[in-house]
């Protein structure tokens, strides 16, 4: 992996047309970092990811990403009725490697199978994707990012809706990837968990904070979530109250 910062962003304002959805974003993440991206729903986390992928329609500023970027969206949005197996999904990571008239060779299939092994799903390679559990589906999508050998991986709330043991499993895998020198951005609603990451980026339209989790003061959280925080009696756990907009 390269020695310089994997992600370098400065002066980023961006959106879909009309008022910018995110503004004043500036941060740089070295290779081998796990960054938690916190913020309320609609606060711009997905918009930021799109900007890093180069898929945002309107933006100004500088965005430099070194290496391949892979996107792992939430599994709730998936077509569970699609007739694809876990291996098929992992293999999608290799689609861009060969032209259309050349079928994907054994080498690519082997890589997909190895990626599934890596995330602990080697035995489930032939299973229908839609019949896997939420946590398993999330891991398949991570395997897909591995098939691409991405140096930057953007994960959209990979732990929401996943039971605790699966969540821990996923975090372990993510830490391994980070130790290999990959850079991971993980959007989340879990403030406690974010404290275990290397860095935290707080977004609420504009960038509120970027730095080590220790610098995430109550004031920062308040500005990020706008008073939606409930701190439990023990004083140690803060829970974000989410309002679901439809």
């Amino acid at each position: 992996m390269s020695a310089g910062p994997a992600i370098e962003v400065s002066g980023l304002d961006g959106g879909y047309g009309g008022a910018p959805a995110i503004s004043e974003i500036r941060f740089h993440a070295p290779a081998g970092t796990m960054v938690a991206v916190l913020g309320p729903n609609g606060g711009g986390k997905t918009t930021l990811f799109r900007a890093l992928l180069g898929e945002l329609p309107r933006w100004t500023g500088t965005v430099t990403v070194t290496g391949t970027t892979a996107y792992v969206p939430q599994t709730e949005r998936y077509r569970l009725d699609f007739p694809v197996s876990a291996l098929d999904v992992a293999l999608m990571g290799a689609y861009s490697e060969a032209p259309w008239y050349r079928p994907l060779r054994r080498e690519q299939r082997a890589r997909a199978a190895a990626a599934l092994d890596r995330v602990g799903l080697g035995g489930q390679a032939g299973e229908h994707f839609g019949s896997l559990s939420g946590g398993q589906r999330q891991r398949v999508l991570i395997a897909r990012a591995l098939v691409r050998d991405a140096s930057v991986i953007l994960l959209d709330e990979p732990l929401s809706g996943v039971d605790h043991p699966s969540g821990e499993r996923i975090l372990t895998i993510l830490r391994e990837l980070r130790d290999e020198g990959r850079t991971l951005l993980v959007s989340s609603h879990d403030i406690e968990q974010a404290k275990r990451f290397d860095a935290v980026l707080c977004l609420n339209g504009r960038q509120v904070y970027y730095g080590p989790p220790g610098g995430m003061t109550a004031a920062v959280l308040h500005e990020t979530y706008g008073g939606e925080i409930v701190v439990l009696a023990s004083g140690e756990q803060a829970i974000v109250v989410q309002h679901h907009h439809h």
Binding site: Y16, G17, H246
Partner: protein, 267 residues
């Protein structure tokens, strides 16, 4: 001619109340499907001596029920189910019409309507459909409006047990069949969808949409009737073309007066 005008007048409020729901809840395909699916019932009715409306309602109602069941079992995407049941009904109707009953001449009428030749029986059916619509709307209109804005895959039947949604589908089926007499099984949308679509361009409230749709349906229906009479052309087709033309004109007017409303290509 007078009976034809009365038929239109009876259909207009139905077109208003139900058309609004159809347009808001994306039930256009369902409506078209019900109308088309009633076709075999109509073919069988004559030779079998059954009142056409009854046969049509049996088949059309069967269509709605079958769709609801298929959709609920999630065995297949709802739109594919609609297409398949619709085409099966049409094919069965064609076979019955041309090969079994040798009523080939009547097929055109069934498919395209016979507004000018409408009889007392058909008027009564339409009147009953109107009453059913008014009764259902009186009780359920608010619930329809509320669940119509639900953030799920509109156009599919509501969740099982959502009685209000089922009743709406049943009433639409009934109205579609009543409209078949006027404009034919294939052009039911000309009465139930197109006027409401036109009204929607200007309406700012559901009530406005309903009133507008009813008014447009009335005017288009009567005008179409007169034009068809003078041109000696099938009234259903004339109303359909008229409706589309009025919609296009309304659209053009809208774009001239409120161009900022144009949708930019979405993400």
């Amino acid at each position: 001619m007078q009976r034809a005008a009365l038929e239109i007048a009876l259909l207009a409020p139905v077109a208003g109340l139900l058309g609004a729901q159809i347009v808001l809840r994306r039930l256009a395909f369902f409506t078209h499907g019900v109308g088309t699916a009633a076709f075999p019932g109509l073919v069988v009715a004559g030779p079998a001596g059954i009142p056409p409306a009854l046969a049509a309602f049996a088949v059309g109602g069967g269509f709605a029920a079958l769709l609801e069941r298929l959709g609920r079992r999630a065995a297949i995407a709802w739109d594919a189910a609609t297409a398949l049941v619709l085409v099966a009904a049409l094919a069965v109707g064609i076979i019955l019409a041309s090969d079994v009953f040798a009523t080939g001449a009547g097929v055109d009428q069934l498919l395209f309507g016979s507004l000018l030749a409408i009889g007392r029986g058909e008027l009564i059916v339409t009147a009953v459909a109107l009453v059913a619509t008014l009764a259902a709307a009186a009780r359920l209109r608010r619930r329809w409006i509320a669940s119509g804005f639900d953030d799920r895959d509109r156009g599919a039947p509501g969740s099982p047990g959502a009685a209000a949604d089922l009743i709406l589908l049943a009433v639409i089926a009934f109205a579609a069949i009543a409209a078949i007499d006027a404009v034919g099984a294939l052009l039911v949308s000309a009465v139930l969808v197109v006027p409401a679509a036109t009204a929607r361009l200007f309406a700012t409230s559901v009530a406005g949409l309903e009133a507008g749709a009813a008014a447009i349906a009335l005017v288009e229906g009567l005008a179409g009737l007169v034009i068809a009479f003078h041109l000696d052309a099938p009234p259903g087709a004339v109303i359909a073309v008229l409706g589309a033309g009025v919609f296009a004109a309304a659209l053009a007017w809208r774009q001239l007066t409120a161009p900022s409303d144009v949708v930019v290509a979405g993400r």
